[in-house]
């Protein structure tokens, strides 16, 4: 990993930086760390090391602790995501009902593996833990919208809506 990338080399907008400042200021105790990281993830879409350093400097929480937390939980990423996020449920009910084939179809179509993004920056593909909507298995979620009882032949049509 490139640790020397500074915050300036990411093209965050001024507003994003202002918002980021506010979020970090709200971290008053150690137990607020995960909630603020969740907010940062939402704001920027990822949490690069440079941002982790900034949080560490301002809160006094050791950098390696923050890195430890960010790398531990699957909610956080250190790489930017593509414009759209495809999550294919890999829970048991979906697996039993054909979720595996959906994943394979997407991997083949876009030549990507779970966790990767397409080169054109259109889709990030992830395998997700159970969404708890097993009644609709197999389930695929695109940008937070749940598609249930997905059939292989429906996938192209679903993804067409996301440019």
């Amino acid at each position: 990993m490139e640790l020397s990338i500074t915050l300036d080399s990411y093209n965050f907008s001024e507003e994003q930086i202002r918002e980021l400042d506010k979020i970090i200021d709200s971290c008053t105790t150690r137990s607020k760390l995960i909630p603020i990281l969740e907010e940062v993830q939402q704001l920027l879409g990822f949490i690069p090391v440079a941002v982790q350093e900034m949080i560490s400097e301002r809160t006094g929480i050791p950098e390696n602790d923050i890195y430890g937390v960010v790398s531990f939980y699957s909610y956080f990423t250190m790489e930017p995501r593509a414009r759209h996020r495809i999550q294919v449920c890999a829970g048991t009910a979906c697996y039993v009902k054909g979720g595996k084939e959906i994943g394979e179809f997407i991997e083949k179509k876009f030549h990507i593996k779970p966790g990767e993004s397409t080169e054109d920056g259109r889709f990030t593909y992830e395998q997700a833990r159970c969404f708890g909507t097993c009644g609709l298995a197999p389930v695929m979620v695109v940008d937070g919208k749940v598609y249930g009882k997905v059939k292989i032949q429906d996938i192209d049509k679903i993804l067409e809506q996301y440019k």
Binding site: I34, V69, Y73, Y75, T92, C134, G135, L136
Partner: protein, 574 residues
């Protein structure tokens, strides 16, 4: 808007009467109620569109006599979106698989012209009237039966075999309205616990009820509370474990989304029992609706003074905060969950001292599962004897299961403990689907095991299931048909545990990885008989030496499939 502080039973009663009066249908005011059931499953199937369609139709036709309501999940996810239509003095009709077009048809034909659209109908009646309907031959006084060609809800085993304690309010109340909960006698148990009982009384009642933790381990809840109440400290905590990570399990999501106050009330009672003033609900980030519902419920409870300082004028202070998990299965383990709230990596630790002694921020802490807490208010209100009369000798009350897989009726069911697996799978879930036979039922998710067909008459209870190498678990139940490979299912679960292993202890970190490697080798057809033996040995070692529950149970799917489906393993390697 000015909110009154609810100080006593009279005020609860007042809210109840007003709410019931407001919701009552009448010939000269609101004549019809349309209820769209909007849990996550419903919304994902299009319930929001259905709701908007009805809203548009009501507005366009200026139908002032139609009331439009929403509730959380109704419990039978595979038939979503579900809509209930009630016309004054008539039996309610539940419609299934509704979309915008069908909604328009129902609006014209049923709501305006008074003829039931029987082709879309699923059942007559409401689940909350089940007991009355069963006693009274399917009739409810004052409700005319319009179309008896449709099944009464009491005639459908999926519903009639259930006993609702935890899910007592599902499909009836709007989870965003605290008044709806109070109208179903909500917060009366909290009143009783805070004003009429001392700590010892509460613990005695919960102990005598026989309630056991519903997260999977089945530890007696009353005993856990007793330990924490004896711990000497000013700051104690209650944590509600809503980190429902088992893939294929969504009982807790369903409870939180349809009845959040039942959990909040349980936490207030638990808080008083152990002397805690602060509670956390640790909820998965994958459940955005549950988090939203909980936050709204907490702020409504605060406005009524049911959370905060001096609740019911009892001098007891208690407040709750929702803590969103960040995606780590291991955080369902108590000590890992605590580390996570403290802001660290979710690594478990050895469980002495127990959290009841030294938990969150090193203070005495009780961690109870969502379902456990939702049982508390009914126990306080109806007494321990009532609760203990349900279930088996060793395990009292009901258990909620989320049933999925190769079955027809997918959803959440609450049955008395001791009900047989066969009743749930064959009678309620209507298995098999597509004429295919099932070969096994997987219980307890990645920590559990398979139960083969010949053991389907086993009662759903902690000990009998454990004897057979599976577990009751938190309530995930997955039917697997004859086409699926038991070895592949075992690989799926071990792979899951391996991905989710926190890496702290070697047996789990390396052991699960090696098990996946061996299973991959076997599944690819390159395995040998020796590999099966190594796998079995390794599974035992991991089970006996891992640090926390995740590692200790990660072998269960392997061991149980080896026990019952060894021939499948052998067939592949031959």
């Amino acid at each position: 808007m000015i909110y009154l502080i609810v100080k006593d039973l009279a005020m609860l009663e007042d809210i109840k009467i007003k709410t019931l009066k407001k919701s009552q249908l009448s010939e000269d005011d609101k004549r019809v109620r349309v209820t769209v059931h909007m849990g996550t499953c419903g919304i994902a199937s299009g319930a929001k569109d259905v709701f908007d369609t009805f809203k548009g139709l009501v507005r366009e036709s200026k139908a002032r006599d139609v009331k439009l309501d929403t509730t959380g999940c109704m419990g039978i996810c595979s038939r979503e979106p579900l809509v209930t239509v009630e016309v004054v003095n008539q039996e309610p009709i539940i419609y299934e698989y509704i979309d915008a077009g069908k909604a328009a048809e129902i609006f014209d034909t049923h709501i305006k012209d008074g003829t039931v659209v029987s082709k879309y109908a699923f059942a007559r009646g409401r689940e909350c009237d089940m007991e009355k309907r069963l006693k009274n031959n399917g009739r409810i006084e004052g409700q005319e039966v319009i179309d008896d060609s449709i099944d009464g809800i009491e005639e459908i085993p999926y519903f009639s075999r259930q006993k609702q304690i935890v899910m007592r309010n599902r499909g009836v109340i709007d989870p965003f309205k605290i008044d709806d909960y109070i109208a179903r006698d909500g917060y009366r148990a909290a009143y009783r616990a805070l004003r009429e009982m001392d700590r010892g009384d509460i613990i005695k009642t919960v102990s005598e009820s026989g309630l056991r933790g519903r997260g999977g381990a089945g530890f007696p809840t009353g005993l856990k509370w007793k330990f924490a109440s004896k711990a000497d400290s000013k700051d104690k905590y209650i944590i509600c474990n809503a980190d429902e990570g088992d893939p294929g399990a969504y009982m807790d999501r369903s409870v939180l989304e349809s009845d959040p106050h039942s959990v909040i009330e349980g936490m207030i009672v638990a808080g008083k029992a152990i002397g805690a003033t602060r509670g956390y609900i640790y909820c998965r980030a994958e459940y955005p609706l549950a988090v939203e519902v909980l936050n709204r419920a907490i702020s409504q409870a605060r406005r009524y003074g049911l959370l905060g300082k001096d609740i019911f004028g009892s001098g007891f202070d208690f407040d709750i905060e929702v803590y969103e998990g960040a995606g780590a299965f291991v955080c369902g383990e108590e000590t890992a969950l605590i580390r996570s709230i403290e802001g660290g990596r979710g690594n478990p630790r050895l469980k002495v001292p127990y959290p009841a002694e030294k938990g969150l921020f090193k203070e005495p802490t009780i961690i109870d599962n969502v379902e456990t807490l939702a049982n508390i208010a009914p126990i306080i209100l109806n007494g321990s004897e009532w609760f203990a009369s349900i279930g088996t000798e060793k395990s009292k009350g009901t258990k909620v299961f989320s049933i999925t897989g190769d079955i027809v009726n997918v959803g959440c069911v609450e049955v008395p403990i001791g009900t047989s697996v066969r009743t749930v799978i064959e009678e309620m879930a209507m298995c098999p689907e597509n004429g295919k036979n099932i070969k096994a039922v997987q219980l307890g998710g990645p920590s559990g095991g398979c139960l083969p067909l010949e053991y389907l008459d086993t009662p759903l209870d902690y000990e009998p299931l454990k004897e057979l190498g599976t577990i009751m678990g938190s309530g995930g139940m997955i039917a697997i048909d004859e086409d699926k490979s038991a070895v592949d299912i075992a690989r799926f679960f071990v792979k899951f545990c391996s991905d989710e292993s926190c890496g702290k202890c070697l047996p789990c970190r390396e052991g699960t990885r090696q098990m996946v490697n061996i299973l991959d080798k076997i599944c690819s057809g390159n395995g040998t008989k020796e590999d099966i033996d190594i796998l079995e040995d390794l599974a035992h070692v991991v089970k006996e030496t891992a640090l926390c529950g995740l590692g200790k149970t990660a072998s269960n799917p392997v061991l149980s499939t080896l026990k019952y489906f060894r021939d499948e393993y052998e067939q592949i390697v031959e």
